[in-house]
Amino acid sequence: MATADALLKPDHGAHRKHFIFTEEHHQLRESIHSFVTKELAPHADEWEETTFPDSVFTRMGELGFLGLSYPEEYGGQGGDYYCNLVLAEEMVHSNCGGLAMGVAVHTDMATPPVHLFGTEEQKQQYLVPAIRGEKISCLGITEPDAGSDVSGIKTRAVRDGGDWVINGSKTYITNGHRADFIVLVTKTDPDAGYDGFTLFLVDMDAPGVIREKKLEKLGMHASDTALLAFQDVRVPAEAQLGQEGKGFYHIMWELQGERLIGAAGCVAGAQKCFDKTLQYAGERTAFGRPIGRFQAIRHKFADMATKIEAGRQMVYTTAWRFANGEYPVREISMAKLYTARMACEVIDECLQIHGGAGYMKEYGIERAWRDMRLNRIGAGTDEVMLDVIGRSYGL
């Protein structure tokens, strides 16, 4: 049987052109790839110790990578949604999960609500400099007592004359220490349930915004993760983002895009570890032959390749639906769940195939193993995804 297939020409290409991508996407991919490998990857080890510098944002802004799908009038590149997928996929080549996450929070979590729900003035004040990389953004959803259950948010914004006064705290906030502004989810009407949330754009240097703690983490060491406190932070009415009372829905919308981008990152990250491990298995010998020749190892690769491809096709198919104007919450949740689990399984197998080397810092596998684990928690845990999917069937 194996001989049968040897008669046909094997295709060793890791990627096949997919119908959602055009030649322009391919060129964009090449240009991001070359930037990431030349200007980011060489610093990965250093930034893992120090967190990555803010200059990454200005440089990416210069290159136009922070506004790929935003309109040209705000300094964006005017591309389509698929451009963001390309960015998410190529950022994994920085070898620096924390960096990729910090950038993704800026491009795909914190700024999309400004673009979609912001007033012209807000866009000029926040979106335009964010696209240039001059203002760094973060998103404030999670609180010490409210994670996946967004409805448990307690941070309060209370009207005071023409202003709002905000009190509360947010935690696990990526970019929280470096950010110039935060898209903040608050409760404005405690009695209105899901209709009681409102978003605000808050400058991080406003009086009463306290960056309390730089949190230490299992992985993603190159990113800064903050615990933030808001004590009588006074913002004007113009700081309100989107409709009053619609904050929950705005954030639910934002989470969909974020989850799909995260899923794309999982697939690309898994593919990268897979490629690296495949090369290792071809070079490392044991008992007189490359370890990749042992069936026990060979079949692991077959399994991994299959799951990676399945995850990739879920992401692309769902992105196609999204770009067609569908709002495929079910499929996004499926892609997010499947790819996060898949990536964790793949990196664990990659560590196993590397053996002792996988456990050592210098090979980079243990770092990827630590970084990957967040995907099953962030942007909604596996269990929350299962819930969303199950509920989508009326269960």
Binding site: A4, P10, Y249, A310, N324, G325
Partner: protein, 378 residues
Amino acid sequence: MGAPASLPEAASRRPLPPFGEAHEQLRAEIRSFVTEELRPHAAEWEEARWFPNEVFGRMGELGLLGLKYPAEYGGRGGGYLDDAVLSEELGRCGSGGLAAGIGAHIGIATPPVWKFGTDDQKQRFLASAIRGDRIAALGITEPGAGSDVAGIRTYARKVDGGYVVNGSKTYITNGVRADFVVTAVKTTEDGGHRGLSFLILEREMDGFETSKKLEKLGWHASDTGELAFSDVFVPEENLLGEENRGFYLIVANFQWERLLMALGAVASMEVVLERVLAAKSGSRWRHAVAEMAVKHEASRCLTYHALRLFDAGHDAIREVTEAKLLSQRYAFEVAETAFRVLDGDLEIGRAMRDTRLGPIGGGTDEVMKEILAKQLGL
């Protein structure tokens, strides 16, 4: 996270590529045939360990046996994607064996005749198969050669005007009812990859015998035969393709066969999921159902990707192999979960037995992994 349902309005759903509107029309046509004329008899045919041969006649009448075949042989002149739709819709017939019997005729036994047959062979075998007048089977597996087809021992000795065939075949779907069997034989003493050929053996030939109807874990409505050939004379006009190039014929249809299996598995998961959703409400099984749905979606996305590449004429060995591997395993797991959720529902039990063949037939999981590893250069 109990989010209320007032999320932005979704645009209407378009069929997933590679399928378009024309395929959806065909789908509706086939679905009504399957639900009206097959589904109601599924349980009875499963019980009888047989579905009537008239199913082929009826499907021939409706033009469903030749969707992808040229009009000159009675086909509809469509493409692979039309057969893909048929394969998915047959997943709704309520009997894996019935779908398998029809699938063997359309998807694996007749394609070699279409691709490699002479005009005379196409008139004699393909056209009659498309009409549903003659039922076809593919004979490759032997008691001593399964996934490793190079081990085939059935020998066709060259004689004046043809061949004399001796040997046996087993696990042949439609093997009991088939009017002709597209049969792999060795045409050199040694056999092996360079010594295989294909002959079309016909039931009326002397020495052709169905030695056994095999009993199985599942696929009950299908007849699985063991065939014995003793000194069967096969005229040379029944040689399909070139002599000693038979291995190429086997390989040529592997990708399509595996794609059909993947499509069937995707459909099976969809049906199982629908049955569970129709029977269960409340949150108790929410996560179990979500897990099933994710496996279905992953299999569908991967299978459609492989199908798009295959249909566009690309070398899609890797993707097809991956789709086959993943979907067969998931289809069984989904059925197994559903069996638990529905407290031993018999219909799901049937699906569970039927889908268990997936990781074996058409090349086992282990063979799929070997192919993938080879593709990866290992």
